[in-house]
């Protein structure tokens, strides 16, 4: 059938199972928007306030569903506004398809109006990128893009689509069968013996999970191994939600702001089984100390991660679900009574670090929010102290219910991502934790949340400052608080109301409880501005490049 490039794009997106895309119109993608109008009954377009909101939304859609998220933007500024969002997806291995318009091929390279070489700009933050120069290549490029984004280690793919190619006509025949992209590579001829022996010899085994466990939905397989060898489970931030926190030996987050027991026990383990984790500097701290006196078994889908940041003696590369099944099948069940006693002691010690239950403290705020949530409630965050508090205190049960920017640590990520995550799950109840700094960056997307009728409760942990940097200045820069006090008169509750959302300001737990009760009755966005103390730091903290020995608890 003779159709235009723009039409082919729509047909291919639908063929690849895309039901929702996020974007913002512009001069070089009018042709695609023209088609979106004609096919609005087949594919939903969500208009955001800014392209950055759209790309974070597509990323949130991807993280919460496991499907590729699609974002559409025009050339030039539209394309450059995607950059932070693409980088966030890249750092956290999220399957994102970014489609940008561009000037006609004859105008490329001439510094035409709104022309940017977005392929060049994004080259180091995509898994791959394509420019479509001939309409006959288009269908294959889109198919390849979906395959690349959603296979093996996921990641963002950019398709740059010049205007004349969108208009060009081609005799298009939809492919008969779509190659399923999600089948992970099966591990071939892996030698499990070294790992089996290491487990048999270990007295203090510790399982450490990263984002790969969430992406692969390998929680049950991890539990299978953990139960068989009586290992506690700690997680990197990206690993949270990967295994249910109700597991009896669940320790929670490790790393720079990880929990005391999770970090201490990790440092005492004689065997670390790292699954789907990449040993970021925020997770390991001082690498020499991290690897000292222990065997590391590293299981990951990406061969380049084995021995990249940590030299593990034993690497198993491939689909982690399958590897875990094989490994669990091969290991002998074991008991480690002394280790279990030590774990119990550490957890007891940790209890002393609990906040006063009456205080308007982030720990109590997060716990109270949790009481209103169900296991499938999506929790999104921005970046900063509030993010660490959520990671420390929220007990995640189901995979992909946590949406947060880990590797890039992009403030302003949360609101767009929360919208996308909710929409990917039939407008599921979603909670966004943010700070007054992060929220200020992209709060314009409140308008999207309102227009899309997202059942979104936004909890602002508002301490009137850029808390995380403030904390670092306080601890390591002689209390020279340069530009981290936000002496701003912004009334976030009234901002919310101006956008058509509900807004409350609360200063204590009972007010907060009442606000939550009202918020969770609504199916539309609500902002609850929690005025919290400036003195509360995100603790524990292991200073950058240090080890458990330098942990700061108070």
């Amino acid at each position: 059938m003779l159709i235009t490039g723009a039409q082919i794009l729509i047909e291919e997106l639908i063929q690849h199972g895309v039901d929702t895309i996020f974007g913002y119109p512009g001069g070089t993608i009018i042709d695609i928007y023209d088609q979106l109008l004609q096919h609005q009954d087949r594919i939903k377009h969500v208009l955001t306030a800014h392209e950055q909101g759209a790309v974070h939304a597509a990323d949130g859609y991807a993280r919460s569903s496991g499907k590729a998220g699609v974002v559409l933007a025009t050339s030039g500024p539209g394309a450059t506004n995607l950059v932070t969002g693409i980088a966030a997806a890249y750092m956290d291995s999220s399957p994102l398809i970014a489609i940008t318009g561009n000037v006609a091929t004859s105008m490329l390279g001439k510094d035409s109006f709104q022309e940017i070489d977005i392929i060049g700009v994004t080259q180091q933050i995509v898994k791959h990128s394509f420019i479509v120069k001939r309409v006959e290549d288009l269908a294959n490029i889109i198919h390849e893009a979906f395959l690349i984004a959603t296979s093996e280690r996921n990641g963002p793919v950019l398709i740059d689509f010049p205007k004349d190619v969108q208009q060009a006509v081609f005799d298009y025949h939809p492919r008969q069968n779509i190659v399923a992209p999600s089948a992970p590579p099966q591990p071939l001829f892996l030698d499990y013996n070294p790992a089996v022996t290491a487990i048999a010899n270990s007295k203090r085994p510790y399982i450490y999970c990263g984002g790969g466990v969430v992406r692969a939905l390998a929680g049950q397989e991890v539990l299978g191994l953990a139960e068989k060898i009586q290992a506690p489970i700690g997680l990197s931030m990206m690993g949270l939600s990967g295994v249910p926190s109700s597991y009896p030996l669940y320790l929670g987050m490790t790393g720079m702001h990880g929990l005391y027991a999770a970090n201490l026990l990790q440092s005492e383990a004689d065997l670390l089984i790292a699954i789907g984790a990449r040993f970021s500097d925020r997770a390991t701290g001082n690498v020499q100390e991290f690897v000292k006196n222990r065997t590391i078994v590293h299981i990951d889908i990406d061969p380049a991660e084995i021995n990249k940041n940590i030299h593990s003696r034993i690497g198993l590369c491939g689909d982690i679900k399958e590897i875990l099944r094989q490994l669990t099948h091969r290991v002998q069940a074991k008991t480690n009574p002394q280790w279990l006693a030590r774990i119990a002691d550490c957890r007891q010690e940790q209890k002393a670090l609990t906040a006063d239950p009456q205080a308007f403290d982030p720990q109590n705020i997060v716990s109270l929010v949790h009481q209103f949530c169900t296991d499938d409630t999506i929790i999104a965050t921005d970046v900063g102290q509030h993010q660490m508090w959520v990671m420390q205190y929220y007990p995640f049960e189901q995979p992909r219910t946590l949406i947060t920017s880990g590797g890039l640590g992009a403030m302003g990520f949360g609101l767009g991502a929360a919208i996308g995550a909710s929409l990917a799950n039939q407008r599921r109840r979603t909670v966004l934790f943010s700070g007054d700094g992060s929220f200020g960056m992209n709060l314009i997307e409140l308008t999207t949340a309102v227009c899309q009728r997202i059942p979104l409760v936004i909890i602002l942990l508002d301490n009137g400052m850029l808390g995380m940097v403030h904390q670092l200045q306080g601890r390591f820069y002689g209390k020279r608080f340069s530009q981290t006090f936000l002496d701003r008169p912004t009334d976030f509750a009234r901002v919310a109301q101006a956008y058509g959302a509900e807004g409350y300001t609360v200063t204590n737990l009972s007010e907060f409880h009442e606000a939550l009760r009202q918020a969770f009755q609504l199916d539309t966005p609500v902002v609850i501005d929690c005025k919290i103390s400036q003195d509360r730091e995100a603790l524990p903290m292991i200073p950058p490049g240090s080890s458990i020995k330098e942990i700061i608890l108070k």
Binding site: I119, G120, Q123, Q124, K127, H128, I131, I148, D302, P303, A304, N307, K308
Partner: protein, 169 residues
């Protein structure tokens, strides 16, 4: 610890591929001593040879990271002990009359070919290993170099093994 190593690659013969490969080296802080690209017998694919330097960790990472690039179809290390590697040199030298005999002898001993000559100036081509080219340049410096142009190294595995054939792609 840092040693030279040579990587051979088969890549898609498309615009932007060189950029992606070079960009990866830049981003990961790997060195490129030389890089050469040329089409293979199948127009769809090009062959690249990269000479880099680094320790064992770097060598392993370079290969793994390159393997992840979509446009890279094959990649392998070409170990010095069983690789044939060659580089091409064009060199323009100023040769004073009294040095003429010595220069001619030197050029001949390297198997050099004189492509162009004037009263006191010659342009020579030499094909040899990179070390021999280094050596020739070193010796020429005593006579007088006007301009040099090196091709960068190209390399292949000895014997019947062909890890970088395009036939099976």
């Amino acid at each position: 610890m840092d040693e030279k190593f040579t990587i051979g690659m088969i890549v898609n013969n498309q615009a932007g591929v060189l950029n992606r490969v070079a960009g990866l080296f830049g981003k990961r802080c790997y060195n490129i001593d030389s890089i050469t690209v040329g089409e293979t017998e199948n127009q769809q694919y090009s062959r690249m040879t990269i000479v880099s330097r680094g320790d064992e960790y770097t060598r392993e990472q370079v290969i793994k990271q390159l393997s992840k690039l979509y446009d890279v179809k094959k990649v392998c290390l070409l170990p010095e002990e069983n690789a044939i590697s060659r580089e091409h040199l064009l060199i323009k030298m100023h040769i004073p009359a009294e040095m003429k005999a010595k220069a001619t002898e030197m050029i001949n001993s390297f198997g050099g070919k004189i492509l162009d000559f004037w009263d006191d100036c010659v342009t020579v081509e030499i094909t040899d290993s990179s070390q021999m080219i280094d050596e020739f340049i070193h010796l020429s410096a005593r006579i007088g170099i006007l301009e040099i142009c090196r091709s960068g190294c190209i390399a292949m595995v000895q014997g019947k093994d062909s890890p970088l054939t395009v036939e099976d792609l």
